[in-house]
């Protein structure tokens, strides 16, 4: 059975050349960058190259890039580091209510530690409520954490606007879903961002790898201590093959990016239009000007999980909310925050694309989704 992988916001298939490069490093050039001999230097070379590749992709300098184990670790390091850094200036930290659990749970922990945390609401389109932001923004705010693109809806958040209003607070941006899709220029349009998280496995790189951008001159407290790797911010022997894979993926995904995005938009818009035309009682959770690769739709009077398993029988892989929360019984906090009822949230599917998705695949996915929805609605379940 053919595979229709439409769950690229959960994770992506690594590029073949990433796999080849990593296999080569693991089997041939497995040195430790800290070793004094030549093999150590070769390994160090891979890490340096990767740092340059990631820095270029983010519009930053190599010395501003710190490798981590992924998006969650980057978020944790930035948020705890940022909050502790500013605790003498104030105790208030802001984020939105639609963040990834790595951010929300970090905030919850900091609240226990005595920080005043504010989870800002979003409007019905899933965009940060700027009025609420303005109301909460004051001298006491020392840290703001805001995601660039929401992982469940693809909605782009007003990061630049927040950056202009941040005052003396530090601004951390979770770019896990935007990196590789949107242009990221941390020395240009996004220069107000102090820290930014990215992840390898969302951009056809390996799992267990990511990076944290920390603006030059900003020193935060390390999360892991030990051998002093990554300039002391993140001790532990560098995961050289994964870091090299991340670097190569970061470089590759931005080649011809504008053309690739047009391709993604074309497929996404086709699917959205098709569903609007052919399936009744649907709610769109994604907007046209959102990230090009995510389409979230609530099919009323269905249950996302059942649709998911029905589609799986045709080799189609999608997700309900996000992969991070789909193991739990809880419903998407993101879609709910947009003012949807429990019933509406229940029938939500997220289709997330990658550059190699084709229009033919999308058509097949649409047809099968319609069948699944209709079957469910015919049979129903009583709740």
């Amino acid at each position: 059975m053919a595979t229709y992988y439409f769950d690229n916001s959960a994770t992506t298939r690594p590029y073949d050349m990433v796999i080849d490069l990593m296999a080569h490093i693991m089997s041939e050039e497995y040195g430790n960058p800290s070793s004094l001999h030549r093999m150590g230097m070769e390994a160090e070379g891979y890490v340096r190259t990767a740092r340059e590749q990631v820095a270029k992709a983010m519009g930053a300098s190599p010395e501003e890039i710190y490798f981590t184990s992924g998006g969650s670790e980057s978020d944790n390091t930035a948020i705890f580091g940022g909050a502790y850094k500013g605790r003498r200036q104030g105790r208030k930290i802001l984020t939105s209510c639609i963040e990834h659990p790595a951010v929300l749970e970090s905030f919850a922990r900091l609240k226990e530690e005595g920080f005043e945390t504010v989870l800002l609401p979003v409007d019905k389109n899933g965009v940060l409520d700027m009025e609420a932001f303005d109301r909460e923004m004051d001298e006491d705010v020392i840290l703001i954490s805001l995601m660039h693109v929401n992982n469940e809806t693809g909605v782009i958040q007003p990061v630049e606007e927040v950056a202009k209003k941040k005052g003396h607070a530090l601004l951390h941006v979770d770019m896990v879903q935007s990196f590789g899709k949107l242009p990221i220029d941390l020395h240009g349009a996004l220069s107000g961002v102090d820290m930014a998280s990215i992840s390898g496995h969302k951009i056809h790189g390996p799992k267990g790898t990511g990076a944290l951008y920390i603006r030059r001159g900003l020193n935060i407290r390390p999360f892991l201590v030990g051998g002093g790797q990554e300039k002391g911010l993140r001790s532990g022997t560098e995961n050289v093959p994964a870091i090299a894979g991340l670097g190569l993926a970061a470089q590759t995904i931005y080649i011809n990016r504008e053309r690739k995005n047009e391709h993604l938009r074309e497929i996404r818009d086709y699917m959205r239009g098709w569903f609007e035309e052919n399936v009744d009682h649907i709610l769109l959770n994604s907007s046209e000007d959102g990230a090009p690769h995510i389409l979230s739709i609530s099919f009323e009077k269905t249950r996302g999980e059942v649709l998911l398993h029905t589609l799986e029988q045709s080799g189609i892989y999608v997700s309900t909310g996000s992969a991070c929360s789909s193991n739990k019984k809880g419903q998407s906090h993101v879609i709910k925050a947009m003012g949807r009822t429990d019933k509406q949230v229940e029938g939500t599917l997220r289709f997330s694309l990658c550059d190699s998705c084709t229009m033919d695949e999308a058509k097949f996915v649409c047809e099968k989704t319609k069948e699944a929805v209709e079957r469910f609605r015919r049979l129903g379940s009583f709740r």
Partner: protein, 404 residues
């Protein structure tokens, strides 16, 4: 002479455990059979360790294990064997009074060091009735020897820190001070075979465990509603089954998709009757599977009044479709007590993973709690019951479950 010394040496390198068979020993004529089954089960559970020997002698089972294997590990394993009443790690010596005195003093010195005991008493018995000293006399003399050898100890016959048991047997004298309780029950496979309806919840694994504890061999049937339930839900049930297999030995689990039947019921019958009707189909299918697989009876985790399908009226309706016995070992138990057993046998944590099962998929808002058999039978007449059951039984897939 050399041979005797060799044996003594060997004994010293091994830990000895006395295993009591409890109820199994009471079964008169069948006693040797039960004991043999018990020894087989213990052997099978311990065969992953090297240097273990299991022997049956004079109504007891003796386990000898290499000292390299932790005592607790052996006790933990034997404790899982149905039919074991208690286990005592023991020390042994030649069956003479002098040898016992010396061994008892050493043994008590060790307990003083490990646990700081201050008081003790001695209880003795002779399995070897030809031994010239009577039991009370053995106890008295060993007590005197211990008092002399361990100055810090005093005798307390009412509430001693330690009771030292001395068992004079023809081959050896056995000294021990602990009786660690086993599960009791009867050795597995001494009481027919039952087919348990395993759902993935807390109750059904406990029901299977309780019947297996009475010696019943187990097979299982699991119903799912894929794609309304997920593959993870089935994975969870397989995991539960593999925990059960620790006690029940490897067994077969038959897996059946109930969705085609649920679809028919939802389309043709009244909403509030769904639960009870699905339940009746489950029992019918399980019964057909039981007959095909040579199981004598069904086992369910039902507990009176726990949910709509387990009220007395509902049980009348579900029981009406069965002509083989249905064992409901939890029927009169409270949920909290069932949960306690689930924790005890290690199934609880797995059971509470929140995956939807086939019973909750088409849960009506207000299920009937007092269904009337006649009315249910009328509703059912709209369906081709026999054909649906037959198709379900034919769709069965069998998975071999191995102990985790």
């Amino acid at each position: 002479m050399t041979e005797v010394n060799n044996t003594a040496m060997q004994e010293e390198e091994r830990n000895v455990f006395i295993v009591r068979c409890g109820e199994a020993a009471l079964k008169g004529q069948n006693k040797p059979y039960f004991e043999k089954m018990l020894v087989e089960r213990i052997k099978r559970l311990l065969h992953k360790y090297e240097g273990v020997e299991v022997r049956r002698r004079e109504g007891l089972v003796f386990v000898y294990a290499d000292k390299k294997i932790a005592k607790d590990e052996i006790i933990h394993q034997i404790g899982k064997v149905f039919g074991v009443a208690s286990i005592s790690p023991a020390v042994t010596c030649e069956p003479t009074m002098e040898a016992v005195y010396a061994t008892a003093v050493d043994y008590m010195k060790q307990l003083i060091e490990e646990r700081g005991i201050k008081t003790f008493k001695v209880e003795a018995k002779r399995a070897d009735k030809s031994f010239p000293v009577t039991s009370p006399e053995i106890a008295r003399r060993v007590g005197a020897a211990v008092l002399k050898g361990c100055k810090v100890l005093k005798v307390d016959v009412h509430d001693p820190d330690v009771v030292l048991f001395v068992d004079m047997r023809s081959d050896k004298a056995y000294l021990y001070q602990q009786k660690i309780k086993g599960f009791g029950g009867l050795p597995l496979g001494t009481n027919g075979k039952g087919l348990v309806l395993l759902s993935g919840g807390i109750d059904s694994p406990v029901a299977a465990f309780m019947m297996a504890k009475r010696g019943m061999a187990i097979e299982a049937v699991h119903f799912h509603s894929y794609p309304y339930t997920s593959e993870r839900a089935q994975q969870k049930v397989e995991e539960l089954a593999s925990i059960l297999a620790i006690y029940c030995s490897r067994f077969k689990m038959h897996v059946i998709n109930l969705l085609p039947i649920q679809e028919q019921i939802v389309m043709h019958c009244r909403e509030e009757e769904t639960t009870i009707m699905v339940r009746r189909f489950m029992m019918r299918i399980a019964q057909a599977v039981a007959k095909e697989k040579g199981c004598d009876m069904l086992i369910t985790g039902e507990s009176l009044g726990q949910v709509a399908s387990q009220t007395s009226d509902a049980l009348v309706c579900t029981d009406a479709v069965c002509d083989i016995p249905v064992m409901r070992p939890l029927i009169a138990m409270d949920k909290v007590d069932i949960m306690d057993i689930a924790r005890d046998i290690d199934t609880y944590e797995t059971s509470i993973q929140p995956y939807e099962d086939c019973c909750t998929v088409f849960l009506p808002k207000h299920p009937l709690t007092r269904p009337k058999l006649k009315r249910i039978e009328e509703s059912e007449s709209k369906l081709d019951v026999d054909a649906l059951v037959k198709a379900a039984v034919e769709s069965l897939e069998t998975i071999e479950i191995f102990p985790r």
